[in-house]
Amino acid sequence: MKRYVLGRIIRSVISIMVVTCAVIVLVFMGVPRDRIFRQDQASLQKLASKPDELTNYRYNKWEDIGYLDFQPLSEMCTNSSDDYAACMVPGSDEFNRVVEQYEADGYTITEYETSDLVFASRDYSPLELVWNFLTSFIEIDHPNVIQDADNPDLERRIYIGSDFNGIPAVKCTGCEHEYLIYFDSSFPFIHQNWIQLNFGESYPTFQRRDTLEVISSGQGELVNAPTTFPNGTTGNSTLNLHTCTYKPTASMDRMDLNKFDTNYANCMSNYSSPSMINLSYIFGIAALVLAYLIALPAGIIMAQKKGKWQDKLGIIYVNIMISVPSLAFIFFMKLIGNSFGLPDKFPQLGFQDIRSYILPVIILALLSTASLMIWVRRYMVDQSNADYVKFARAKGLSQSEIFNRHILKNAIIPIVNGIPGQIILCISGSVITESVFAIPGMGKMLPDAIKANNNTMIVTLTFIFTALSIFSLLAGDILLTFVDPRIQLSSKGETR
């Protein structure tokens, strides 16, 4: 089984990367690149009177996001000329030589509108886009990452220490992060900074932050809490010391020196609201549990009372739920909820108030009950007609004994297989619900990112959703082996 699972994981990772790369090519080649500035009109307006700076700004952004390689003249001359001063004079021999060299390398040389300087740019081909993404995708932290000329004596090692709460943690000096593995009170309780996925910076929304950071760090207001700093001082602070990264000695200020005895002073803050990912998960899991709590018993009752009024009622419900468009259902439920005093939008009462969650969770759960119910019913009915049920009856078992000991265990198998998939449905299904209720979650992020032409965010979310669905399939298959003895996950030639 180990070999099979390993093979499946490798194949899953390959599929995820294929999907992600395909989306990268589609987004970067298919969408006109000027559109990324639509949501950034403020910056463009500021530069409107200075066309050269505007050009620089636009090309710099494109380069940051990964569209192209942009080199202003100064960079061209630093890279390709020994005589920087001569190179910087347009029309000189050295200048012409460098320009020719760049043109030969496939660059387009463009003159600025006002000055007579030029810059070179070269669009990446689809293959280069994918290559650039893949080569910078995984960042593994190690003790030789930090190169700080002002701190030549920096110790370089990974060790097991304890954090500011006295809880053991894998720490590092010389790495980008101070804590490589640590525990805290937030789900999933064990965290790591060792391996980081890099999707690039978010633009034009959530500017100057990595996309993963945008969806995984807290939201809302900063939270002040009593903190003991590494050098022993205490005080109220918003900093989350687990997230600290290396700060170059040159930029360490007095406040940093007051709190930190090492250079790991670049910390993120604690926020009052959960991150987008966490918020989506809270809704997803709560809705999933509720959906199963409703649909499992309902489907079982429908199967047991097949043809009776309970069954007919259930079928009417399922029919309505399947035929009514989910958007219409969401608004209908919202109307009912509002009449009970539940908030219209999530931010009205905020994340601390339980009432903010009730309506979206109920809607998300009900949306997935219909198909669940009908499948549960169908599996139960299928199983009750099986021969082993007839034989169990001939054995003299009562109806309820047959049901609990024999039918249920067989009917539950396909249901168990689908549970991980349902988790994914909850999160991706919440795309609509989150938008309607203005919930700042990951589901709402996808349409928002598409609207804003936030390419890196689209790629990030694609990667996350794809990874979730593919690994949920694997998780479903692994779960199967626990409930169905006939299923063994093994590759050819592997002994059980």
């Binding site: 082993y388 034989f391 001939a394 003299g396 078992l397 009562s398 000991r405 265990k409 067989n410 003895p485």
Partner: protein, 355 residues
Amino acid sequence: MEEREVILSAKDVEVKFRVRDRILTAIRGISLDIYKGETIAIVGESGSGKSVFTKTFTGMLEVNGDITNGTIMFEGKDLTKLKKDKDWEGIRGKRISTVFQDPMTSLNPVRTIGYQISEVIVKHQKKSKAEAKQMAIELMKQVGIVNAENRYDDYPFQYSGGMRQRIVIAIALACRPDILICDEPTTALDVTIQAQILKLIKDLQKEYGFTTVYITHDLGVVANVADRVAVMYAGQIVEIGTAEEVFYKPAHPYTWALLSSLPQLGVKGEDLYAITGTPPSLYDKVIGDAFAPRNPYAMKIDFEEEPPMFKITDTHFAKTWLLDPRAPKAEPPKAIRNLHERLLEITDERGDYHG
């Protein structure tokens, strides 16, 4: 033949099914005494009602079926009066057990073999789980499972078809029933395994002394195991007698036809015999002898009046007008006239076919 104790006595049993607003009479008045310790085989083609008839012994009729007439007396109780599952407690699976046709699907695929055996013991004999396990392993050994202790926790998919049928038999016999109904127990098995299973049931019967009711359309099985044979056609028993009587002195034209169509009696180069036509629709009232339209010996009266059960010997009865003194003499077809010799030719000394 000496007087024997009757263990189950069916009188005038009639079973009707409601099928989409129509009434189908599957069993049209069957009376049958089953004696303690005997092996009786009920034979007949598909749809003749043999399974339905025995299902009334355990209250296993489908929900749309009802016993509309008659009594089935077992240990002083009328089984036709039992309606709810609770009424059947202590009889079904305990005193009267059933072995079904397909061992591949008779066992729950996701429960261990051991669980499925000990479950009945716990249920009917009120034993503890540990005791039940010991008894189950003992049973598994008795039905010929090698290394029973280690195979107790195996699942059905880890057993072969023959071994599964042994387990099904072990489950059926777990509570030492008085009657074992074998509903085509060997149909789904290959011939070598068939013989083993039949021998197993025979041996166990000797040991425990239960009564066996075979339901089958395989006359080979019948010849092999049965003391008495009841031939069913269109929801009635048309001939009943000891195995010798039914095989060697058959009296009903349907039995003749059935025996003639034994593939083992086929002569190389000639077509196998097949009964022409189809059984009558049981939705309509059957007038006269139900077999008459397919019967080459049919007389006028066969189409007009239902024949009574004629007594041939103390143990041999047949329901055909041919036995009426007024009927012309009809000889059985040539193919089955010297059946005894022909059968001896094609079977070995143990009674198994080698042809």
